[in-house]
Each structure stands twice: as structure tokens, then as C-alpha cells.
């Protein structure tokens, strides 16, 4: 038990600076403006998704907590793409993470800023454009992304615990028939 507490303390120590760093980077990256396309007349597209005009894209920044958890922020003049790689320590967590993010991404319309497909190498991605920063508070958008990253780890741990508990109960019930 002491070892577990020690490990969770050190884990918590890296979480705050990681999230603070992401918060500051996002606040700077989300300085967007309405920018009509240079390539197609009368069109207005998120430049980070189009990728055509290199001068409109900022350098992508990856903030990594460790090898398995990181966050990549790609910014441009009118849009920002935030991709998150969630910690998946074993197979059960991998399956749970995959199912959970799939559930969220299928409902991307309700989340407004969620991208339907994650960027290559990551588990989930957000796309925030200038229309979002015009209609919603920027500091609340940043809060949402940070809270999301905090909560998702907790959610997956909870789900794993309940999966294990359920498996134990099922196994007990099954074995009961062999015990006199």
C-alpha cells in the first residue's frame, strides 16, 4: 500500500506541470482570426486541415508527460488541432480506451470541437476554429480540453476496476456450481 501511495504521488507531481504547460500553449495557440482561403475563392477552410500554404501554419508542439502520454498542438492562422495520446498500461486499458474514444468520436457533432478521426499516432483529436473562439469563451475552451484530459484517465481506471470486479463476480458464480 505504501508503494502504491508513493507511485500515485509521483504521478500526481507530473500531472500539474503537464496540464499547466498545455494550458499556456493552448492560450497562445488559440489566437485565431477569420481567414478566407487563398487557394479557393469564396471559401473559408481550417488551414491546419488543408495544409496547403506553409506560411499560415505554426510549428507543431508536442508536450509529453512520458513516452506513453503526450499531447500535440498544431496551430495555424484560423484553426488549431489538439491530439491526445492517452496512457494505456495494459491490454484491458487499450480496449477500454479504444471503445471509449470511439463512443465519443461517433458523437462528434454534439461535442462541436471534437474531430471525427484522431490524427495518426494519437487516440483522440480536437479541431477548434475561429468560429468556435468567436461564439464561445476561449478560456472555457481551454478549461474544457484540460478537464477532458484529466477526467479521461480517471474514467478509464474506473471502467477497468468495474470490469475486473464484474469478472470476479461472474467467475465466483460459475465456480459455485462445483463447490458443495
Amino acid at each position: 500500500r505504501n508503494l502504491r501511495r508513493f507511485l500515485s504521488d509521483t504521478m500526481a507531481n507530473t500531472l500539474r506541470p503537464y496540464l499547466n504547460c498545455i494550458r499556456h500553449t493552448l492560450t497562445a495557440a488559440l489566437c485565431l482570426r477569420n481567414f478566407p482561403s487563398q487557394v479557393v475563392e469564396r471559401h473559408n477552410k481550417p488551414e491546419v486541415e488543408m495544409g496547403g500554404s506553409k506560411e499560415l501554419l505554426l510549428n507543431p508542439i508536442t508536450i509529453a508527460r512520458n513516452e506513453s502520454e503526450k499531447c500535440m498542438i498544431e496551430a495555424s492562422v484560423n484553426s488549431v488541432r489538439i491530439s491526445v495520446r492517452i496512457k494505456q498500461a495494459d491490454e484491458i486499458e487499450e480496449i477500454l480506451c479504444h471503445k471509449f474514444t470511439r463512443f465519443l468520436m461517433q458523437r462528434a457533432e454534439q461535442f462541436i470541437i471534437l474531430r471525427r478521426k484522431p490524427v495518426e499516432g494519437f487516440d483522440i483529436s480536437f479541431l477548434i476554429t475561429n468560429t468556435h473562439t468567436e461564439t464561445m469563451w476561449k478560456h472555457k475552451l481551454v478549461d474544457f480540453v484540460i478537464t477532458f484530459m484529466e477526467e479521461i484517465d480517471k474514467e478509464i481506471s474506473q471502467m477497468k476496476i468495474s470490469v475486473n470486479a464484474r469478472a470476479r463476480i461472474v467467475a465466483q458464480e460459475y465456480m459455485r456450481q462445483y463447490v458443495r
Binding site: T27, A28, C31, R33, N34, F35, P36, S37, Q38, E41, R42, N44, S53, E55, L56, V77, T133, E134, W137, K138, H139, K140
Partner: protein
């Protein structure tokens, strides 16, 4: 003065204000409420913006109106839009009538400015060019001459007081000076008349500055034309001083989010508004470099007034409203921002007489739909 700037603000639009312009005597304002329309308000000499009345709506554009300018000399309005068009509006018989402008760009227009004498205007466009338009009497339209040489979208233009030099800010990280001399409009200037001496042919690139490490979002000349400034997306402000035709640049990187719009209040003071939602004042130090002095908006120490409780039903409705829009039952005070602007400041303009050497009254509009009046 170090006194906190007295302010008045008002929500003019729910969707945000993309551009605004004052008329010559500051009694009327034209704004675009982030749509394809232009709304004109009068009664603006009154310092309380809630008393202003909307008198005209101009609806000729198809897409967002990105730039508006009002000439104090001719009283004509010019508007430009993402639909690649621009219109010049003349006030006749109590109505604003549009005139045709042959802009010849095949991408969106981002910004438009009248020259100081009102005979021509320049448009910053996503076609990587700047058309400069003047009136042709024989066909009753405005025709354009193109300034090319930009490598990316031109974000803002600014005219020198001598009516012939044009400053442009571009998303290829450079700020450039061109000659925009149009012989149908004016005479040539003799040597010594400005930073680059005698008049150069139209479209000639006279100077290029690459001190910004980000998109050059705003450019401005000082009232005398002996200085220019440009703001970059890397949170930098570069000021260039001219001694004859020698240019000396000073760049200052400040610890705030980038500026979207700058203007000179006088030769030694620049006001900038941008992503901090708070106008910032930069003043010149002895070496000619401009440093951040203060922000105009300050947090008031008085506690926020408690929301009036009008009854059980109103409270219950507010709680459900809050749950659907914010996902929480209470309207927490820490949700709202203390600054007068709640979103990016898109434009900073002077409310003093046009061409004034020392501006003390300014106005800012932002994507939150508010207009705030400040006194320096």
C-alpha cells in the same frame, strides 16, 4: 496621464463586430456586425453608446464585410468583403447609394483604407495583391491598378499623410512600403517631401521590413509620417524611424498575447488592441524603441454587484439555463472575464478630429460585439 481611462461600453451586436469606421465629425459610425451587412448609427457625439440610433442598413455584399472606411474629405464610405467585391457609397437624398468598383481580384478582400485626400483607396486582399482604386468620370466607376510583389495574403494597409506612400502588412511575415502614386489623382512630389524623397512610379517597392517572426497583422504611420509601426503575431511591435531616407528599426517583444490592430495616438505613443482583450499603451523611450507602459482596462477593486433576485421562478429558470449552456447549476463569478471586452479586439480607431497630432479619445470594437470608448 496615469489615471484609469474612463470608459463607456455597449453591446452593439450579438455576433461580433468585424470592422467599424467613423465619419469626419464623429457623429456617425458604420459597423459590420460580423455579417454581410453594414449598419450605420447616428447620434454618436453622445458619449453613451446606448443612445445611438441605427439609421441605415447597407446590404449589397454576399459574404462577410471585412473592411469599412469613411473619408472625412468626401464623406464617401468604402466597404470590402470576402466576396471579392468593394463598393463606394455616396449619401444622396437621405440614402446611401453604392457605386461600382472594378477590383480585379480573384480572392477575398481583407481591409480597405481611403487615402488622406479621399481621391483613391487601397484594398488588402487574399489574392496576394493590393488594388489601388480611383474614380473614372467617363464611365462612372472606380478602376484599380495592382500592386503585386506579396507572397501571401495582405492583412492590412495604411496610407502615409503625403497621400502617396502605402504601407502593407502581409502573412508572409513582412511589412512593405510601396509607392501608390496615381497620376490621375495628384501631382508628383518634389525631393525631400517624405521618407523616400521624390515620387516613385506606381507599385515600386521602396522598403521591406522582416523584423516580425509572425504574420504582420497591423500597420500604422505616425501623424507626421516620420515613423511607422507594425505588429506581428509573435507578440512583437516594430517601430521604424526615418531620418531623411535612412530607416532605423527597433523591435520590442512583449509579454502579452499578439495585437490585432494598432494606431499612433501621437508621435511617441502607440495604442494596440488584440488577443488580450485589453488595449495596451506603448511609449517611446530615449532610444526610439517603444515599450509596453500599461493596459487601458484595469480590474476594479469594488466587488461585482450581486445579481438581483426577482423571485423563485426566475431563479429556477436561470438554474436550468445555466445547466444547459454551461453544464453547472450556479452562475459562478469566476466564469466571466473582468475585462470590458470578452473577445478579441478587432479594431482601434481615433475619436478625435481626423489627422489630429495628439489623440486622447479612442474606440475599440471586438468579436464580442461590443464597442468601448476610452479616454487616455
Amino acid at each position: 496621464s496615469r489615471m484609469s481611462a474612463a470608459t463607456n461600453f455597449h453591446q452593439l451586436s450579438e455576433q461580433g463586430i468585424s470592422a467599424h469606421a467613423w465619419n469626419g465629425d464623429r457623429s456617425m459610425i458604420a459597423i459590420c456586425p460580423n455579417s454581410n451587412e453594414v449598419h450605420i448609427y447616428s447620434g454618436c457625439s453622445n458619449p453613451d453608446p446606448s443612445t445611438w440610433t441605427r439609421t441605415h442598413v447597407l446590404a449589397e455584399h454576399d459574404l462577410l464585410v471585412s473592411g469599412i472606411d469613411w473619408s472625412p474629405v468626401t464623406n464617401k464610405l468604402v466597404t470590402c468583403s470576402h466576396d471579392r467585391n468593394a463598393f463606394v457609397w455616396t449619401f444622396q437624398d437621405n440614402e446611401w447609394k453604392p457605386s461600382l468598383v472594378i477590383l480585379r481580384i480573384n480572392r477575398a478582400a481583407i481591409d480597405v483604407k481611403w487615402s488622406p485626400d479621399g481621391s483613391k483607396f487601397a484594398v488588402a486582399s487574399a489574392a496576394k495583391s493590393v488594388p489601388v482604386c480611383h474614380y473614372e468620370e467617363s464611365n462612372d466607376w472606380w478602376i484599380s491598378k495592382m500592386i503585386k510583389k506579396h507572397k501571401s495574403t495582405v492583412l492590412e494597409v495604411a496610407w502615409h499623410p503625403n497621400n502617396q506612400l502605402l504601407l502593407t502588412g502581409c502573412s508572409d511575415f513582412k511589412c512593405r512600403i510601396f509607392s501608390a502614386f496615381v497620376e490621375e489623382c495628384e501631382d508628383q512630389l518634389p525631393d525631400g517631401a517624405g521618407p523616400y524623397g521624390a515620387t516613385q512610379p506606381f507599385g515600386e517597392l521602396l522598403g521591406e521590413f522582416d523584423q516580425a517572426r509572425g504574420w504582420v497583422e497591423s500597420v500604422a504611420w505616425s501623424p507626421s509620417g516620420a515613423r511607422l509601426a507594425f505588429a506581428g503575431h509573435d507578440s512583437s511591435l516594430t517601430v521604424v524611424n526615418f531620418q531623411g531616407s535612412q530607416a532605423e528599426a527597433h523591435t520590442n517583444r512583449f509579454n502579452l498575447l499578439p495585437l490585432s490592430s494598432i494606431m499612433f495616438a501621437n508621435e511617441d505613443t502607440i495604442i494596440g488592441g488584440g488577443h488580450e482583450f485589453n488595449p495596451a499603451v506603448f511609449t517611446a523611450d530615449n532610444s526610439g524603441s517603444f515599450v509596453f507602459q500599461r493596459s487601458l482596462d484595469t480590474k476594479s477593486s469594488a466587488p461585482a454587484p450581486a445579481a438581483a433576485s426577482t423571485g423563485g421562478f426566475a431563479n429556477a429558470r436561470a438554474m436550468f439555463q445555466s445547466k444547459t449552456t454551461r453544464g453547472q447549476a450556479k452562475n459562478d463569478a469566476s466564469d466571466s472575464l473582468w475585462t470590458k471586452h470578452e473577445n478579441v479586439i478587432t479594431q482601434v480607431t481615433s475619436r478625435d478630429a481626423p489627422g489630429a497630432a495628439n489623440v486622447t479619445q479612442i474606440a475599440t470594437t471586438g468579436l464580442d460585439g461590443r464597442i468601448v470608448l476610452w479616454r487616455l
